[in-house]
Amino acid sequence: MNLPELGVGLIYSSALEPLLTEAPDLINVLEIEPQTLWAEQKEGEVPYVIPPELDEHLASLPGRKLVHSVGTPVGGSIQSYEAQMPLLRDAVEKLQAPWASEHLSFNLTDDFFTGFFLPPRQTEEGVLVYAEAVRKLRAGLGVPLAIETGVNYLRPRADEIPDGAFMAAVAEEADCGILLDLHNLYTNQRNGRQTIEAFLADLPLERVWEVHLAGGFEVEGFWLDSHSGAVPEPLFALCQEVIPNLPNLKAIIFEIFASFLPQVGLETVRAELEKLRGLWELRGAQPVGNNQRNSRPATYPDVAPISPHEWEKALGKLVIGRSPETALEADLAKDPGVPLVQSLIKEFRGSMVVQVYRLTCRLLMLALTPDVFRVILEDFWSQTPPQQFAASEAEAFGDYLVAKNLRLPQLQNILAFERATVRTLTDGKPRLVHFNVDPLPILRALSEGRLLAEPGPEGDYEIEITPEGPLTISPRYEAVRYGRS
């Protein structure tokens, strides 16, 4: 595979743009996760949209671009990429990505999205099913595809192929590249799965085109792949031994979750990039063939005849909080990783809702206390499975709140305002929202994280949400609010 050497870079986040401006020479490549920038339109002419100016903006950023899909994982028997394919392929073409990547995980069952990347069924049947998914996605994208080594919070099972051998088998069956996420492997090792050393001993290292590195932290005895800061020292030391054994390495990417930037600062990202540049210089230092790879057994015994589809259905059901019914579900429910993933999914879902309907959620937390808000969310989660896109998750929560008809003052107005705003952002159509009191003091107070001490003057107010244009306030607002003529 003749791919270009790209160098060191970052997963793109808008919060990192100041660093791109300040230190463009430090970043050779930006990896874009296209779906994070799309709006889902459940009732629109096309299922997903991206603002045209954003396409242009991404292309104008420094460095070469890679496409890292986060919505079409290939470790499942059910795929949903047909709807996403036009925009995904468009991203590959516009960004001139020499290759793309996806996760060897699943996030979809017959009935719902799981809200989390979950580990695939590691069997011979799984190898064939997932390799076919890789081939289909690659054909749709029109560029070479690498599959990412995932996090698995479950305990190792006797009826599954070991992690490294399974990844090797899928990559060879599909004849694709490998995105070696070393922090994912570090997380798995810390949590009792295969060691990184054993994983790599099973891997065809010449297929590794790209490495991901990140930081994490420990919660309740689990190491989390939280992308929360610097690469852990033991992992960095190991990288210095691993990178020289990767003869076809083309990029090393640092990942950090934007929510942690206020804590760690851009200077930490800059320092990590400089360290990664040192690693980059070590690439391919060992002669090809130096890797003593374990030979692959002819077959792996399937102790239990659990199909990928059965596995996905059972695990998906458990992690979104449904009760076990089958023998497999009862067995999986005993795994301590399941309640952990349940908690992480809830944090994801809560974060999606508060990010999209920030003012509505603040009103609920301030008026009812955060803990009662949590109880309300728990009820919503128990009734509604996760959505893949944040706006859709929030929309479902909005439907729930409307149905509950909670008699909290101004709640329905604030919710209507935020729903209208997100819908206008998505479809570009103007909308009107009515208030029976002056809305601006309420909106201002909530945006500052407080409740309004005194209600504004009652009256007939409306806010028009427009796709673009100036902020205008009727002169009569000034007259009523401030007694000016």
């Binding site: 890292h68 989390l224 974060s351 003052p409 705003t421 994280g449 309004l452 007939d460 949400i465 427009t466």
Partner: protein
């Protein structure tokens, strides 16, 4: 309570907001990318999204007039605390996980303070209900007498 002023002029008062500005008070400083990141598919990672805990901390801090800027470190601490199921909610055990009782408690507060209370009034009374009388299992009205 001061008598509310009524606007009697004909027709509604209209405020026109571009969606991006309506979505965020700081939108003029925000790029369209950051707005889309909030409504799009979550990023690739398998850790704890601390934003929910950050918002919780922000609200708690703002209500105490402390530094209201979201603090991820405390958000992480909050996440860890939640893992141990140490809820601080002032609801009695029987009410805590019964959403219908929570909603009935909200209705009770509304019944007491009227149909169109200001939000702060609601906040004060609801917190009193939660923290002082710790909503009894049967949600009996006499419990309010203990406070007022």
């Amino acid at each position: 309570m001061e008598q509310k002023r009524k606007m009697r002029a004909a027709g509604p008062i209209r405020i026109t907001l571009p969606a991006k500005v309506a979505y965020s008070p700081d939108a003029l400083k925000e790029s369209i990318a950051s707005v889309m990141e909030r409504i799009g598919c979550p990023k690739c990672f398998s850790g704890a999204d601390c934003f929910f805990q950050m918002e919780r901390s922000f609200v708690l801090d703002a209500s105490l007039n402390a530094d209201p800027s979201p603090q991820p470190s405390r958000a992480v601490t909050g996440f860890a605390a939640r893992q141990s199921h140490e809820y601080t909610v002032g609801l009695s055990q029987g009410v805590k996980h019964d959403i219908n009782r929570v909603y009935r408690a909200v209705d009770k507060v509304i019944d007491i303070i009227g149909a169109h209370p200001c939000i702060s009034g609601f906040d004060i009374l609801f917190k009193d209900v939660l923290q002082t009388i710790v909503i009894p299992e049967n949600l009996e009205a006499q419990a309010f007498d203990q406070r007022f």
